[in-house]
């Protein structure tokens, strides 16, 4: 076994992380200001995280998101532990958001990628329906890093 192969094995052995990311386009009927937009993102990440833990995750790897509203306002949120408050960076220009693009990354320990994908998409669907936010999934992605030389 050469160095490269062993390196890949180490990588795999240690990388018991379930990963999923999605890129959403949001159409918001009741426009949101900066505070409401921030809360919307935080609540979504909280609910996705809670669902992952219900389904067997035992540690957050990193859950993060980046929201870009029309006009260029941005909100980024990073969550690394249930016991540590999320980091939020808001650069909002004051205009209420009616449309936006939201990228969400979910990486948790203790679940497989397909489960993380299913949990994230299901939570997002229910979450947006409750808030009358229409959305489309522009792209979603999972199971890439672990697809190392089968």
């Amino acid at each position: 076994m050469d160095l490269k192969e062993r390196q890949l094995l180490t990588h795999r052995a240690s990388d018991e992380l379930g990963k999923f990311s999605m890129w959403l386009r949001l159409y918001i009927k009741d426009p949101l200001d900066a505070t409401q937009s921030e809360k919307m993102v935080l609540d979504l990440l909280d609910e996705v995280t809670a669902e992952c833990f219900r389904q067997g995750a035992d540690m957050i790897g990193h859950i993060k998101s980046f929201l870009t509203a029309e006009g260029g306002s941005t909100i980024s949120v990073s969550l690394i532990d249930m016991d540590i408050p999320p980091t939020v960076q808001v650069r909002f220009d004051g205009t209420k958001m009616m449309r936006g693009e939201l990228i969400v990354h979910v990486i948790v320990h203790g679940m497989w990628d397909p489960q993380v994908r299913e949990a994230s998409l299901k939570v997002t669907k229910d979450f947006m329906a409750q808030r009358s936010i229409d959305y489309e999934v522009i792209n979603d992605f999972y199971e890439k890093e672990k697809r190392i030389k089968e």
Partner: protein, 221 residues
Amino acid sequence: MRIAQVTGFLGSGKTSFLIEVAKELNSQGLKVATIVNDVGHINVDRKCMEVHGIDTREISGGCICCEVQGTLTTTVTNIYMSYRPDVILVEPTGVAIPLGLKQAAAETIKKMPKILEQSPIVTFVDAMRINKLMNNVRRLVETQIVEADAVLINKVDAVDEERLATVTALIRDLNPEVRLFYGSSRTRQGVREIAELMVRGEAVVYDLSDAEDRFEKKYGE
């Protein structure tokens, strides 16, 4: 031109800290480009960097340290041709290990030997979460520390002195010789020191045999 790579588990604060390092280098009149290697094709870290006006490219489709090593060479070459930075900061995924990063950079340097030098690899350790990580992803985190040229204990403003001493002892136990720094992107502690290391730190001479021995000793077959 320097290629300065960092590693560290997910959420260890690499992106936030590198933004501060890039600002610091800019303030010294140096041109900086960054390469981020995130999960998949939808890159959050790139967007975070670009909000701060930092020229950023992304490598997707896998981890630089193993799956897409060759892509690093192409990306670095393109950045050099189009931008001619003094430093390229590389932020790989949170599961990258220093040995793989050194290999990737060494391959790139072979293609542009008179232009590119490799800076020491800095592993970020999250002072707040290290215990939890050692329980759940011990092998990966240990590897990142053992193979590091320098370790930055990050988020030191969020922990007390006792905890910091414990984390320091843990690092020293795993890698007694490693250069140790303390940092926080919020207070900018350690930013200047890491910037200095990346620009002027002794370039790494990559020794495959040493790496193999270490790997063998640590993990066996």
